[in-house]
Amino acid sequence: METPVIPHRLEIIHAHKAHGGWVAAVLPIHYPRALFRAFDILPVEVWGPPRIDPTLGSAHLQPYVCSIVRNALAYLLDGRLNVADFIVVPHTCDSLQGFASILIDFVKPTQPVLPIYLPRGKRLSDLIFLTDEFKALYRTLAELTHREPSPADLMAAIEREEQADDLLAQLHHGRRNLALSQTDLYRLIRSREYLPAETFVEIAGAVVQSARSLPPPNDIPIMLSGIVPEPLTLFDALTQLNAYVAADDFAACGRRLYERGSRADPFERMAERILLAPPDSTRGSSMQDRLDHLTTLAQTTGARGIVFYDVKFCEPELFYLPVLREGLQRANLPSVVIEFDLNDGLTQQTQTRLEAFIEMIGGTQ
């Protein structure tokens, strides 16, 4: 299959605005996409972005804050988020919580800043709270946009997102049979960060349709874990090293394979989908849940080792590493930790370490 043509982020934003819609710049990780779409607000995610001049952010944030947050602030201060009508900040971690707070209290961007608190459990109390939080967000958006989508509108938006998420899951699980390079696959997976669900469904649907049973690749299957796979050339490098990403546990990708909801109330359904997503450090999943998830994922996909590819200073991820690595080792799954800064690109050191790791697991076949 040919490389799918994925419209560029700016193209999508301008097209959406041209028909009178709004755009929300959304910080990582979990948020109710359908709720925004029901208001004709297109969520466009901001994971950093990479390789920008972070100096402007450094006037407000200490150097020990991760590059995703520092870059996002620099990007905003540089006027590069002016196209957005809203800024949405989920309370993913202490750094993003602090980021939301300094935006509201000190930076005061022209757009309204909408924080979303995500509970750290999946108990009934968490479901009730998150449902209430989404209802409060609905009221805020109604006030700001003077629109009031009905429950049916909300359910229709949820259905569109669920359909897109089904296809996203098929891309992940059926990757072996897709005639796509690893880089193209991840470009497509990550286009979910800004494409409207219906556009994503169209593109991803065609890719999934063209899947056919391919012989298993000869490359060494590995798994990646972390917050976000940046830069995408990481996958080119892995391909060159004869490594094949059999599964991922990235917060931006594999941890957002939300299953279809079961509840009839739209707010509860949106909350339920997030709470039941795969285990995630930022949602406070237990060590055991994460370990079981990674082990199962490796076993079902044949991954022979795990690369923890972590953003420097990312506390949520760093805390889990010792327990996960020890547990994986017990299951005969070796792992390596590589930390990176968004502004460094794919360094020679990273490539060397990847090479050594892949050689090591390749040799222990």
Binding site: L61, D132, G284, F319
Partner: protein
């Protein structure tokens, strides 16, 4: 054949070690310390007379902890957790953060935290967490031995870090973890947030009861909450005596004497202790004793202390007649006192624990600092940019700028770490303090 100890033998062992041997020995220690003359400082007042009693209280707390597993259930909790429920269920309550602070003051952090680092915990993680995880993995601690927990309670009102940290501990010991998740408060807490915390407190009770093997008595909970409130009110009064010029007590004194308000809340002896401390502070005012002998300038301290260099910084500032008179950190255990309602511990607890300073916006903290500057007639502020503590430190760069612009006082951002001396550049800190003091002028 293995020898099994009976519960009676365990209790006897506890009584022997703690009540027969330990406590009298600590009392003797205190008497001896009271007789010793502390080394005088040319710039600072002598330590408060109550200091040996503080040390005795802390040592007694850890002594009880050392043998606690022999006769009662043990809970490890975060510093902002609603520990009243556990106290009322007769748990021995240990605050790992306090233990790590004690390791900081005893300068054992590098040795202990290295154990955690060797096990894979990154040096970019909070040094409190690294210290306690290191202690747990190696058994190293300056207090002899920490009790093994039967239950954990983590409250996110100080940071998310504690949740990950406690997940690791729960996994290590395979014990239940009660999570009290507290949505961030930008202005005031929403009803949904209060109800959420309240629901979690309610749900925590049966879990704690199951581990305790007992039922929670509402009368006991009310009593514990009342004692917590009383101690916090006294602590607030002690801090407020810093408004007096010259200040009778410094922030360094507060750092030294704050351990009981953190880890011994809900106890009658803690109330007595702070009543005695308040009395001594008032006597100092009456006698004209000031924390810094020649108080010339008055400053605020923001963020955690640098535990391993308290004396160094106190002397450095004291030499220039600079007194640190109030701190957002020590105030955190005072400011919530009025919110506690012993008659309604669950509902008021939900509201109170949501409003911890670290669970509130950066603008709120700035407003608090500005109020302190006005109320305590301050000349400036030192904001400790604590590498370990992102929730406390993010926002400080803007707060510093606004203190200067809006309150007209200079503020120094001091890079360090509250526990790990490897992130402390002594010469650089000394130079920056000197330059800042110079800037304060005469």
């Amino acid at each position: 054949m293995t020898y099994q100890r009976t519960p009676t033998q365990d209790t006897l062992r506890y009584q022997w070690n703690v009540n027969v041997i330990g406590k009298p020995a600590l009392r003797l220690n205190r008497w001896l310390a009271q007789l010793r003359q502390p080394k005088p400082s040319p710039y600072l007042a002598p330590p408060l007379n109550i200091t040996p009693r503080t040390k005795e209280l802390i040592a007694r707390h850890y002594l009880e902890g050392r043998y606690a597993n022999l006769h009662r259930k043990v809970a490890w909790v975060t510093s902002g957790a609603p520990a009243e429920i556990l106290k009322a269920l007769n748990f021995y309550v240990l605050y790992p953060e306090n233990h790590a602070a004690l390791c900081g003051a005893a300068r054992t952090v590098v040795d202990i935290a290295t154990e955690a680092e060797n096990a894979g915990y990154s040096r970019d993680l909070c040094s409190y967490a690294r210290t306690d995880i290191g202690a747990l993995l190696s058994g190293k601690t300056p207090v002899g031995k920490l009790p093994k927990p039967d239950l954990l309670m983590a409250c996110t009102n100080i940071c998310q870090t504690v949740l990950f940290w406690y997940q690791a501990v729960a996994h290590h010991f395979r014990i239940p973890l009660i999570l009290i998740d507290t949505p961030f408060v930008y202005t005031t807490a929403s009803d949904q947030a209060i109800n959420y915390v309240w629901r979690q407190l309610d749900a925590a009770v049966p879990i704690a009861e199951r581990v305790a093997g007992d039922f929670l008595s509402s009368r006991k909970l009310e009593q514990v909450t009342r004692l917590s409130k009383l101690a916090a009110e006294l602590w607030m009064q002690i801090i407020e005596r810093g408004k007096h010029r010259p200040a009778p007590i410094s922030v360094f004194d507060q750092f030294i004497h704050m351990a009981p308000i953190v880890e011994m809340r809900g106890e009658a002896y803690t109330v007595d202790f702070y009543a005695a401390l308040l009395k001594e502070v008032e006597q100092r005012i009456a006698k004209g004793i000031s924390a810094v002998k020649q108080e010339r300038k008055r400053l605020l301290w923001d963020n955690l202390p640098i535990w391993y260099r308290l004396r160094f910084i106190a002397e450095k500032l004291g030499a220039h007649g600079v007194a640190l008179v109030v701190s957002t950190y020590t105030n955190a255990w005072a400011e919530l006192a009025p919110m506690f309602d012993p008659k309604n511990p669950m509902a008021s607890g939900a509201r109170t624990y949501l409003h911890a300073i670290l669970n509130r916006g950066t603008g709120y903290k700035l407003a608090m600092m500005q109020k302190m500057i006005a109320d305590y007639q301050l000349d400036g502020a030192i904001l400790h940019s604590d590498r370990s503590c992102k929730p406390y430190s993010i926002g400080q760069m803007d707060q510093r700028d606004r203190l200067l612009r809006e309150s007209g006082v200079p503020a120094l951002l001091l890079e360090a770490d509250h526990g790990d001396p490897r992130a402390f550049a002594e010469e650089q800190v000394a130079n920056r303090l000197e330059a800042f003091v110079e800037m304060l002028g005469e």
